[in-house]
Symmetry: C2
Subunit: 201 residues, 2 copies
Amino acid sequence: MTPLRDDVRSRILAASLELLNEGGVGALSMREVARRAGVSHQAPYHHFADREAILAELVKDGFSQLHAYEARASEQSPPGAERITAIGIAYVSFALDQPALFQLMFRRELVELQKFPQTEEIADEAFNVPHAAVAEACGKSMDACMPEMLACWSMVHGLATLILEGKLDHQLGPGREARDACVREVMSLYSRQRYGEHSKT
Amino acid sequence: MTPLRDDVRSRILAASLELLNEGGVGALSMREVARRAGVSHQAPYHHFADREAILAELVKDGFSQLHAYEARASEQSPPGAERITAIGIAYVSFALDQPALFQLMFRRELVELQKFPQTEEIADEAFNVPHAAVAEACGKSMDACMPEMLACWSMVHGLATLILEGKLDHQLGPGREARDACVREVMSLYSRQRYGEHSKT
DNA sequence: CAGGGGAACTAGACACTGTCAAGCCGGAGT
DNA sequence: ACTCCGGCTTGACAGTGTCTAGTTCCCCTG
């Protein structure tokens, strides 16, 4: 009942997220987190088993954010190619909005999802949104359209990764608009040609 | 002239690669490298400015290996969809053969390519192989087919990344054959539908 | 109203890391 | 013969994650 009860815990998570966004995963050290939260360097271990458990908590929130991005895109677009494009753009937009968090979510060396069933479950929910959209566009069952789904997911995830790791800086400019335009172009190029034309853009 | 002259340097690189392959990037610490090379913990700094410089050297070799994988695939297949498929499979094969090295090559926080022009140049060579293949299949210039190239590269890179990070363990089995089969399927699904049918597989 | 118990938190220590600073040492150049 | 210098070693420092041992304080029971 007392909001003070979990005060330290939430301050720790807040400080973690702050550090993550400021300097990436490398800047997120347990001791610095504790320092920012104004507690001793050992206090975090009373709320989390180890560093990985804290990261898993951030990752959980990350996947639920990703799910929200995708769900909104899915609802606001008609089924078929256009919906796939929209979800793909949402996926990359999330990655660009939360680069450090996105990287954290896909680093097994930092957090092994299998150890955190709650986090894994939310991750699966996020993966289901594009999967369902692809199945609908293909007119196949979720299982039957696995290759299509993998192709789609891979492309979107690869695009996000390459942009974040700066591998496309040479091709694209540094600005956010150029990146968004590129994502839109690649996505619509992909899904239009695969799932049929759509009028958008 | 004396082969002993660079003995320490090459032993350091060998030890680095060994550690990288044994336990990933996290296991590669300067002190452990020095220990394995049989020198003091400061010796590496007489041959490399810092940790990043050692990693850059490994990355350089990684990109030249990747280039070799791609070049061989390109030569052994006819231009068009089939060549793109082959190069894509080669790309992912490299990633699966050298997982730790592949990850290292695409982590800007670990090695910023711009700081190492030699490494960057070899990386560009590696990226040019698929780029040329896509341009040929499209019948456009290298510049004009940038979106197609990005779509292709993103998909292949994303597939490699997702497999390595274990995100497809649930969909695929753990075995290498299942992965190879999946890669083949996704790749040919992609390039066949985009660049026309080909008889293979 | 004691008093016991346990949770939240602190403090100290350990082994480890990357890197700076100083010293040793042997061979090359003048 | 003497100096210089690059390759290497040793020592130190601040920083890390985490184990262990206290300390403090609130709640629950008798």
